[in-house]
Symmetry: C2
Subunit: 243 residues, 2 copies
Amino acid sequence: MTALDLQIATEACRQCPIRHRAVCATCEPDELTRLEAMKSYRTWMAGQTIVMEGEPMPFAASVVTGCATLTRSMEDGRMQMVGLLLPSDFIGRPGRANAPYEVVAATDVTLCMFDRPAFERLLTDTPHVSQRLLEMSLDEIDAAREWMLLLGRKTAREKVATLLAIVLRRAATGSAPLRAELPLTREAMASYLGLTIETVSRQMTALKKDGVIRMSGLRGLLCDDLGALLAEAGDDADGDVLS
Amino acid sequence: MTALDLQIATEACRQCPIRHRAVCATCEPDELTRLEAMKSYRTWMAGQTIVMEGEPMPFAASVVTGCATLTRSMEDGRMQMVGLLLPSDFIGRPGRANAPYEVVAATDVTLCMFDRPAFERLLTDTPHVSQRLLEMSLDEIDAAREWMLLLGRKTAREKVATLLAIVLRRAATGSAPLRAELPLTREAMASYLGLTIETVSRQMTALKKDGVIRMSGLRGLLCDDLGALLAEAGDDADGDVLS
DNA sequence: CACCGGGGTTGACCTGCATCAAGGCGCGTT
DNA sequence: AACGCGCCTTGATGCAGGTCAACCCCGGTG
């Protein structure tokens, strides 16, 4: 996350704590003051668990900076990431006290947290908030469905290319070469894609060898030709993935 | 769908057109009359396309009887089912005119359809409706995440067992042997599970051979021991899949 | 009756990814 | 410097599931 992004996030935070992003047109003054009253900030370091699977989740929150992951696991230890939270994404569902999945900080992460009971009261009181939350949920459903296509039908190479494209898109600075900091370890990438670490690694080197991407260090990702990357991703060049 | 189910569905329909299911506690008289005014019914036959991928979708709807599927496809023809709609499920997102995926009738299917502009007006007017829709969306997100775990990490045998368990659960009559009519062809099952037809077929015969399930005809599914089936599914015996 | 066509099953073979194992690189610690 | 530890890469090998092809079953139709 660049200094500019941080500034934008905090700027927006004054405007609309739920989205932590550009002003919400429908924000109303009384909602904002009530939200202000119940919010608090907290930071986790990369790798720390924010909520354990099945544990009570006494808050709802939105991501201010950094990156967190939602993960479901099976008894024998197999794991699948089921949510990737970047700045402005929202965690926690009203009306459910327990988290059905583990929430982990992928990078250092700062959340803007809302006391759950107070937040639920706000929801029932003010239609605007629940409508905005509805919209965000619908976006999330679309993202999840795109993700299912990836998990169910794409090859390893397409999967990796798709993920890299998603990251580049979210971090887009505008002018080529596109440049982004990978917020995920190889392990997290594998978990996202339904692959193993080794396969992810092999596909990354293959994409490098074929000139589709370049790396500067382990985390620095550059791409001269997003079109080529999207072609590798098997998407029809739109890929409205991940809300 | 049995005659009893049908009766329940129509019964509930008078009560709450959105869910087409047990009475919604929060239904209010004026909402109901407005919903009544904008709704209409239509039936499709098994195999018919209800909405094409990318086409305009001039309505929102809820499933009254039968079964429909949402499918995303790639340019080269690979397809992945991303939604399975059973009675009481809802299709169509307010605020988006075009369907991002294909909707197909898996069995003969009857929808209760709402004119989209009118429905959107109702949404902004009455908070209850959007709150109920929010709840349903959140359930759908949870189901999608469970589904991702299946697509990303489960073996073919586990996938098939999981799907059969889901169907049995939704059709549950209570007493063993559990009995259900499979609403899906092998092709649709394969599409749901991210497998090929052949693999689904092989796993089905394997599960039969191992005494986990029995079939009466191609569509009739019986199970004497749901616990055994769930064990094969790799779930920790809860599996709150598919809302 | 023969014919056809659509859905399902089964077998033989192949391949893409997982698995297992070794080694490299960067970094903090003694 | 030497060591250990995370994280990543690379190679060798195996297997689950895809692919291709044949065949079955069943209901509809001329």
